[in-house]
């Protein structure tokens, strides 16, 4: 295969191995540089996305704090769930969770807002890798389906109805995609379960500690304080 013009050293095993190793190292170096260059910006974009999604599930009108400051972490079955509390006059008006669930082709990350009576204010998908054109109808930009959860609660809809219609529940699946909506409904039900299990802690009136925390944005103290209360 090798043409006559190619110098002998290029046919040695060492050159081949070195070439491959060199390219692999170069690729690794480039990827590290790329990661370093984009890591902060990607984090920032994701935080902006989060704030935008929080605003979609918790209306601005019902709270007077910065949602990212009202952060606390609940522990559920060994999994940490981050909760963002919307406070009005130091009382919890609503909470928002981010949840992850296993979809058809990878994790689906959701955010849901629940008001203090346990009624869903809104649900949004933060990220997913579902099939384009099928499972991606869970995005609000592509389909109105996700808004079907608005205003629902365990009081209005009994627990066993929180399933897709195919499983005997109250929620539509999409034609051709059952697994994705099933996963989303399950995650939302778990979110409501989590809310009810931790209701007292979430709705507890905030005293001076949180007022101070809201200004310093140091959320770790709130996290540490609330975590042992559950589980």
């Amino acid at each position: 295969m090798t043409t006559a013009g190619i110098p002998a050293y290029r046919r040695r095993v060492g050159y081949q191995g070195g070439l491959l190793g060199g390219f692999a190292s170069l690729a690794a170096a480039l990827l590290i540089m790329g990661n370093l260059a984009t890591f902060d910006t990607i984090g920032q974009r994701k935080a902006e996305d989060l704030q935008r999604s929080l605003r979609q599930v918790i209306p601005d009108a019902i709270h007077d704090n910065n949602l990212l400051d009202g952060r606390m972490v609940l522990n559920q079955d060994g999994k940490d769930v981050t909760v963002y509390r919307a406070l009005r006059m130091r009382k919890t008006a609503a909470v928002a969770f981010t949840l992850t669930t296993q979809g058809f082709s990878g994790e689906i990350s959701l955010i849901m807002g629940i008001d203090r009576n346990g009624e869903i204010l809104g649900v949004r998908v933060l990220s997913h890798s579902e099939t384009p054109g099928l499972g991606d109808k869970i995005e609000v930009e592509k389909n109105d389906w996700i808004n079907g959860f608005n205003g629902k609660s365990f009081e209005k809809l009994p627990h066993e109805q929180w399933r897709v219609k195919k499983d005997g529940g109250a929620f539509d699946q999409f034609s051709g995609a059952t697994i994705t909506p099933r996963a989303v409904v399950k995650a939302i039900t778990e979110g409501l379960d989590l809310f009810h299990a931790n209701r007292s802690a979430l709705l507890a009136e905030q005293t001076g500690a949180l007022a101070a925390q809201a200004s310093t944005t140091d959320t770790t103290s709130a996290t540490a304080g609330s975590a042992p209360a559950h589980n």
């Binding site: 050159y15 070439l19 390219f23 692999a24 690729a27 984009t38 910006t41 974009r45 051709g176």
Partner: protein, 243 residues
């Protein structure tokens, strides 16, 4: 083949767009094809992202071809492609975040696109930089057009719309592209699912072969009329349609 350094850009263009079209002639890249062509918009998005990677890989491979040996070329190409795709993915996520939210699904799929490896191997490895980049671009545009055609075909039959959600991909200026061709359409799920992709691909392939056969037949007829009398016209026609 003798005049390898004199690159016929017109030939590269027709190869990419029609006669060696990634999908309809080389039959490559069928995996991302079936996954994303449920709608014309998704096809367009995947095509655009792939075009960028094809051109970039053409550039890199043709630049480095003096260094790369025949024996280890394939792993090196794979490394180059994977690195380019990952870098494109990361920088889009950071600086073109809104576009990434839509195209982000497709970008990692590009690594599975064997057409890129195919072009690196069969063109960029053997040709200088400029023709390689041009070849990458033309192959990419051909790929994009095929994906869009297939996507449109499946979308119209499957859901009765055309270019749904195009404004998410291209900006609100392009919302005029979003058409509902069949109002109150119940949908034909098979076309949206991967088997529908195979069916649509089959129909479009048949159509392309038919066009090619017609063109060949026309040329044969013209040649025949030029140097011989009519008479064995029918034999030629039968022969070329069969191929």
């Amino acid at each position: 083949m003798k005049l390898e350094f004199e690159h016929d850009y017109r030939k590269i263009a027709t190869d990419g767009l029609w006669s060696s079209n990634v999908i309809f002639s080389q039959m490559l890249a069928l995996c991302p094809l079936l996954a994303v062509t449920g709608t014309a918009t998704n096809g367009l998005g995947m095509g655009m992202a792939t075009t960028v990677v094809l051109a970039a890989c053409g550039l890199l491979v043709s630049l480095l071809r003096g260094l790369i040996t025949q024996e280890v070329r394939i792993p090196v190409f794979v490394l180059i492609i994977a690195t380019v795709v990952t870098l494109v993915d990361m920088s889009m996520n950071a600086w073109l975040h809104d576009l990434h939210k839509i195209l982000g699904l497709f970008v990692p799929l590009i690594v599975t696109n064997c057409a890129i490896l195919g072009r690196a191997e069969s063109f960029a490895f053997r040709n200088p930089v400029l023709p390689s980049v041009f070849d990458g671009l033309m192959m990419g545009v051909g790929f994009t057009l095929s994906l869009m055609t297939l996507g449109a075909f499946r979308e119209i039959i499957g859901s009765g719309t055309l270019f749904a959600n195009a404004s998410l991909l291209l900006g609100s200026a392009f919302s005029f592209l979003e058409l509902t061709l069949i109002p109150h359409y119940r949908g034909f799920l098979l076309m949206v699912l991967p088997p529908g992709g195979f069916l649509a691909l089959g129909f479009l392939l048949a159509a392309k072969r038919l066009i090619d056969a017609r063109v060949k037949l026309g040329q044969a007829r013209a040649a025949l009329a030029g140097d011989a009398g009519p008479g064995n016209d029918g034999a030629v026609a039968g022969g070329s349609v069969a191929t």
